[in-house]
Symmetry: C2
Amino acid sequence: MSLDDRKLEVLRAIVEDYVETQEPVGSKSLVERHQLGVSPATVRNDMAVLEEEGYIRQPHTSAGRVPTDAGYRLFVDRLSKVKPLSPAERRAIERFLIGAVDLDDVVHRTVRLLAQLTRQVAVVQYPSLARSSVRHLELVPISTTRLMLVMIADTGRVEQRLVELPGPVPADDVTDLRRRVNEKLAGQKLADTPPLVQGLVDDCSPDRRATMACLATVLLETLVERSEERLALAGTANLTRGGVLDFQGTLRPVLEALEEEVILLKLIGDLEPSTTRVRIGDENKIDNLRSASVVSTGYGPGVTIVGGLGVLGPTRMDYPGTIATVRAVARYVGDLLAQN
Amino acid sequence: MSLDDRKLEVLRAIVEDYVETQEPVGSKSLVERHQLGVSPATVRNDMAVLEEEGYIRQPHTSAGRVPTDAGYRLFVDRLSKVKPLSPAERRAIERFLIGAVDLDDVVHRTVRLLAQLTRQVAVVQYPSLARSSVRHLELVPISTTRLMLVMIADTGRVEQRLVELPGPVPADDVTDLRRRVNEKLAGQKLADTPPLVQGLVDDCSPDRRATMACLATVLLETLVERSEERLALAGTANLTRGGVLDFQGTLRPVLEALEEEVILLKLIGDLEPSTTRVRIGDENKIDNLRSASVVSTGYGPGVTIVGGLGVLGPTRMDYPGTIATVRAVARYVGDLLAQN
DNA sequence: ACTGGCACTCTGTCCGCGCGAGTGCCAGTC
DNA sequence: GACTGGCACTCGCGCGGACAGAGTGCCAGT
């Protein structure tokens, strides 16, 4: 049995009402609040069908209906219209992002902005090293046998690592190392560097090889293995919004999930399609987030994507509004990065 | 009326039982669980006095007693013995901190360790810039009119900022700038730098003065104003431990407070006395944290203190254990920093 | 100074009840 | 055939009373 237009309309009404009131919605109140042009009894029949198809369910016999994950899915895919941002929101975004002085600042401002606008938990991934190029590598002597390696990426990220050298290295040698390393690696995509690093060691004169090998190890760690991504998080207090009603009674599992960077990255960091992605309830495949939805998208200067950002909230969330906000913020951040 | 030894013993017993069971403790169960050598009736009299003095209170008439903030205070100051760490905990600390590769890593591992050991929310402040010295300043050309300024502090912190120059500057000039800046500032305490920065501009030849002035502005921001401290946070999920019982029903205010870096810094960042500090309930002067206690201490290589760390939990917390753990972790972190 | 006993108070819980919202179904109507 | 009005039914929820249990304060006695 396929769903005709009115049934879809009923589903949309249920989702909208439920999101707003947080209470199971019944047939009578539904026809009162929306111009469906039919009687409650008819709506009831439609509801029965929608329930059979798995889009809505009753918390208890003889209570109103509540959308299921599948119901939200259908709503997001086919029923919701994009909600344009209010001018006030646009202004808020602009005001908030102006005046950011460096990458850290941009990321922090963005994540707070997102949390504030969506009134949900916001996550912003730092520009991914895997998608960055090396802009410059700097070697700073700390002591005779220690160097600080500083890598500056074109996305603005700066990573540093301490290098323990096998023996004392004179200042001139450091200068030489710095030159060689930069000649070889500057401008390269991080992903392409490993063979080049190996080349660096091979090209070295034997007496310096040990030093270079040391440096190479740390370089590889910094450039590749350690490309473990960084994140910023804000708005956890928003989880307490809907009372304890959302998240089936306890925030525990959600807070736990939010502490795991790996999990968050999986949620927002899957950057393949450049479009906005919505994961509803079970769809995000993480037990702790059974009753949470994630709206995420990629961002970057121009069309390239260097990182992800998104928000997490109860499945019962204002999808159209959230999607619009996430998109808008991502676009503004992209523009901001493009200016650098 | 002063409190004799037995009354203090009763208070200690009440605190210990309440912390453990989370339930108001009555006179009968008290004599059962502790060898007080007197009858419940006697204990009741003592309790009446303790209540009069404000150390305990009854949630409702005819319920057991619960310690007040003042009760916990007295307990912490005079009644609790330091609880030595278990060998397992010592091992956990060592294992956890070994293998940290850089400052970020140290801080993150520490904060997670603290959260795990105390089963509470942990906060670690990055080594304060205000207490650091400049180790090296690096200028990296990004474009002809842009420099990246990277400051490396002796505590391992690395700060970067973008400098917009008034006009194109040739590479040689950058080298010169770098040399001058380092000659003047390297090795100086950050707090002492402002006059030196001014000197840098004054000493400059007129044609380069505009550039140097630009750089100086950013330097000052980076070195002083922007000494806004950084923090790491972990273990928020532990807030949900005692059910919703702690924190009078809602985590909301606590989560909100935890999002405010300023507030957290005030809590753990007051580094004057090098001893461990315990702030109980109202004592921390923040409305949102009325029902929370904070145990914090400073850490640093050797005897100097470069930052603070601590944990936050319900006033009903295991003070002796928490204090011991916080101290131990701070000492280990200090040792770790000293090695650099 | 401590103790045993007693009356009292209060909370939490369980039960039963009635209300109201909401449903499913069915017969009737357009 | 699709929609509607009506009706009986089901449940969750809130309310009030009764009850058990824990804990107290007080007092007289040792």
